[in-house]
């Protein structure tokens, strides 16, 4: 059965017991990063005051993320988060897309998939984002203002605020993972159906194409949501009024 594939796990690097790698994740992370880097660098070559072609597209994306940033916080503060938002959007979108086109199973192991369909990856991004919000909270409001935020409007809310930080991190990571993983599971099932015989192929091809189209939509929406929430959490930490 097609779902019986495992993961290429490489355990205990350098003999450290907790340092395990899913080599498929490592590969896909590098592939996504490389694709994003290449697209971004090609897109920003030969920049002109009068833009044309690819530069228009890149500027449209920059404007799009700028809109997201300025809808959540003051643009003067938000300006420094624009590169972060852009990179996250690009990276997550490309990562999401990689699992839609095809999946490669080699020697019983699933090698080619979305890097974002793995909790390790998405939670890493979420933790990084939340850690950055704390860092910028302290940097822009000072230690006192940062701590004071936990006790406003009433000190009673302090435990809830602490829980909120963890809840934010978890939901941010798990939302992306859940969406992409569910999508890949359904796609795997549909492809399994198509591979099961002539009748299965005829019955399965339309839902497969439809689901691929829908996943494309989800890929974009999830990337957008991730960046949007990043900016919302960031604004909670760095803005004076919220």
């Amino acid at each position: 059965m097609i779902l019986d594939h495992g993961a290429p796990i490489y355990e205990d690097l350098f003999g450290i017991s907790w340092l395990d790698f899913n080599l498929s994740n490592v590969m896909m992370v590098l592939v996504s990063s490389l694709i994003v880097l290449i697209i971004a660098i090609i897109g920003s070559r030969k920049l002109q005051r009068k833009p044309s072609g690819f530069q228009n597209f890149m500027e449209w994306i920059v404007d799009f993320v700028r809109g997201m940033v300025s809808s959540t916080m003051d643009w003067k503060t938000g300006k420094q988060f624009l590169p972060l938002g852009l990179t996250l959007l690009f990276y997550i979108f490309i990562g999401n897309l990689l699992g839609i086109m095809f999946m490669v199973v080699y020697d019983g192991d699933l090698w080619w998939k979305s890097p974002t369909a793995d909790p390790s990856i998405t939670l890493t991004l979420a933790v990084m984002v939340v850690a950055l919000t704390h860092y910028y909270g302290i940097k822009l409001k000072g230690g006192k203002g940062y701590v004071k935020d936990f006790f406003t409007p009433v000190p009673l809310l302090f435990p809830l605020k602490i829980i909120e930080e963890f809840a934010n991190t978890l939901t941010l990571g798990m939302r992306l993972y859940g969406n992409m993983f569910a999508g890949e599971v359904l796609l795997t099932l549909l492809i399994g159906l198509m591979a099961s015989g002539t009748l299965g192929f005829v019955g399965g091809i339309v839902p497969t194409i439809a689901w691929q189209g829908f996943k494309l939509f989800i890929a974009a929406i999830q990337a957008f949501i991730f960046v949007m929430l990043t900016m919302v959490y960031m604004s909670h930490k760095v803005s004076d009024d919220h």
Partner: protein
């Protein structure tokens, strides 16, 4: 089937190796992409914004300058028109004055010429009358002397005739 798939995903759990790789890769990606793509892109966009803003400012300035120049030109034109009108009026007045002077001078000249002519005529007439008087006198004497012969002396006779003729002249005048 679905259970199996979910178990595969969950079975891996959280892998620290993957997390470290992801974190490092993302930070490197963020640094590279910011340096090579976002910064230049944002710079270009900002530069364009400034360019457009300055162009708009310049256009506004030019517009105001043009308006100012137009007003100036209009004022100038108005002044010039007034000047021209003034000049024309002056010329008209001068011409009228001259005309009047000329007519006056011509009339005076004509009057003078007429007066002269009249005086001349009068003089001529007087001369003619005098000449006629002398001739008529001597003729009368000759005729009378021929007619009356020796009755009167020549001086008495002439005196008599002159008196007579003067009377006739006064009556004629």
């Amino acid at each position: 089937m679905l259970d199996q798939a979910l178990i595969i995903g969950a079975a891996n759990g959280l892998l620290f190796g993957d997390m470290i790789i992801q974190l490092i890769t993302f930070i490197i990606l963020l640094a590279l992409i910011t340096k090579f793509a976002w910064k230049p892109l944002m710079n270009v966009m900002q530069e364009r914004e400034q360019h457009i803003a300055s162009e708009i400012d310049q256009a506004e300035q030019s517009n105001q300058e043009a308006k100012r120049l137009m007003n100036e030109a209009n004022d100038e034109l108005k002044n010039t028109r007034q000047n021209a009108q003034q000049i024309i009026d002056d010329a008209n007045e001068t011409a009228k004055n001259q005309q009047a002077d000329l007519i006056k001078a011509a009339k005076e000249e004509a009057a003078r010429i007429k007066e002269n002519a009249r005086l001349e005529i009068e003089q001529e007439r007087d001369k003619a009358i005098q000449a006629l008087q002398t001739q008529v006198g001597s003729l009368s004497v000759q005729i009378a002397s021929k007619v009356i012969e020796k009755e009167l002396s020549e001086t008495e006779q002439e005196k008599l005739i002159n008196d007579y003729l003067e009377k006739v002249g006064e009556d004629n005048e």
